[in-house]
Symmetry: D2
Subunit: 138 residues, 4 copies
């Protein structure tokens, strides 16, 4: 962790009051932490714009495990990219529906391709790639 800088920020009192209310409603007890979170979110978004950035993401899939061969297909796909898939969590939502979350790591361009392949598989009801970060340098 790097040393801490203390900077001054000039904000209209009205705007500051509104921001304080907003972040309180989100559970922040520390205003600096809210500012740092705004910064980090911008940086994470920016990183993902370059296909060769090192990123981490999560792929969330909801599917009906009764769909024939779906489970096999998803498992095969994951195996053929095992270098990029750090871990997978499987939750049984109800009798039919499963949720799977994969943690994916690698170049942004590659991670996007893997997520596309999983999400586009027939039988997957809903899929999303969530962009996050290796944490290094954040």
């Amino acid at each position: 962790m790097s040393e801490l800088s203390r900077i001054g920020v000039a904000i209209d009192s009205d705007l500051l009051e509104k921001f304080d209310r907003l972040i309180a409603s989100r559970g922040y007890t520390n205003r600096s932490e809210a500012f740092r979170d705004l910064i980090r979110e911008e940086l994470v978004q920016k990183t993902w714009e370059r296909p060769d950035s090192n990123v981490v993401g999560t792929v969330t899939l909801v599917y009906d495990h009764h769909v024939r061969l779906l489970n096999e297909k998803l498992t095969d796909l994951q195996h053929s990219h095992f270098h990029h898939i750090l871990s997978t969590l499987h939750v049984h939502l109800d009798h039919d529906n499963c949720l799977e979350v994969l943690v994916v790591k690698g170049k942004a361009g590659v991670v996007k391709k893997i997520a596309d392949a999983l999400i586009s598989t027939k039988g997957v009801k809903h899929g999303r790639l969530t962009l996050t970060s290796t944490g290094a340098g954040l």
Copy 2:
């Protein structure tokens, strides 16, 4: 405009350096201004979540003016909501395509409905509602 508050924000030096590079690439010459913009964006998003908030938005429409009756339909729709539509700008993009931007003002719920009606009109190729603000209190 309200008076200015000067607050201190504690940020890890590494993170601050990255943020400074990011905002420089976006043309900011003043770090406080970049922080204020991050705050205002959050507040604008939050305001639009409540259907009865007073908001301003812009509706952007791209369409082919050769589509039969399209222009008439869009004009009719706009007239029946003229209390909410402050102004409309029309640009001829090429021989076929027009772009129209409407400035819409009112309760968030109503503005969304008007935007939906315009965007869903057959012949409109692309439409977007952009969420912004009356500026009051920002």
Copy 3:
């Protein structure tokens, strides 16, 4: 405009019913039009990912015209990019606040830079770049 293809799409009856309700609430009277709009939105997003694509966008700015020199700065900025700015609409929201919408055309990378410069100008309370399309080929 190109000829029309009629394609068949297989959809679970439940899902179709829900979709029909959703698009009805948005004002669609024609299901094919709703599908075409979903497609076009994806294509517009995709186009903006490549910096050298030809795109059209709108830049929405809300600002207090009392801020010293702000108007001059925004006008100067617009003039130095006049090749890319097709038109500008100015609305007086109240005694203090103005809304300006610019229609911007050019390579995606260039249009983004112009939008960044305008939005980051000190005194602009809220700014957004809305991604749309030249309409050609949509």
Copy 4:
């Protein structure tokens, strides 16, 4: 699973060709599946707009486990909402950084509050709530 409806959709041939290329690049081998995914995404977004809808989401957190008491705080928070947190996956990204993904289920309003509390905890570098679905009725 409900029975299948076969509907006809009219699409300009140019637009269809572009869509086919786009979905091929995303790995779809079946056009109906791509359409169904577009529909489901809209439905999921819509569901989350009502605070009392039953939803499933994932909360992704990246943090430095060396931050004093952070792990305890996150674990405490999770325990006090254990009824809503189905499962948690923890990945060690490097010497310092951890990624945690929680599967959260409940009313949309409650799930958002839990996510806010976790994401706003001091020491969490990046956090995101990903909106998905129970799968029922999708």
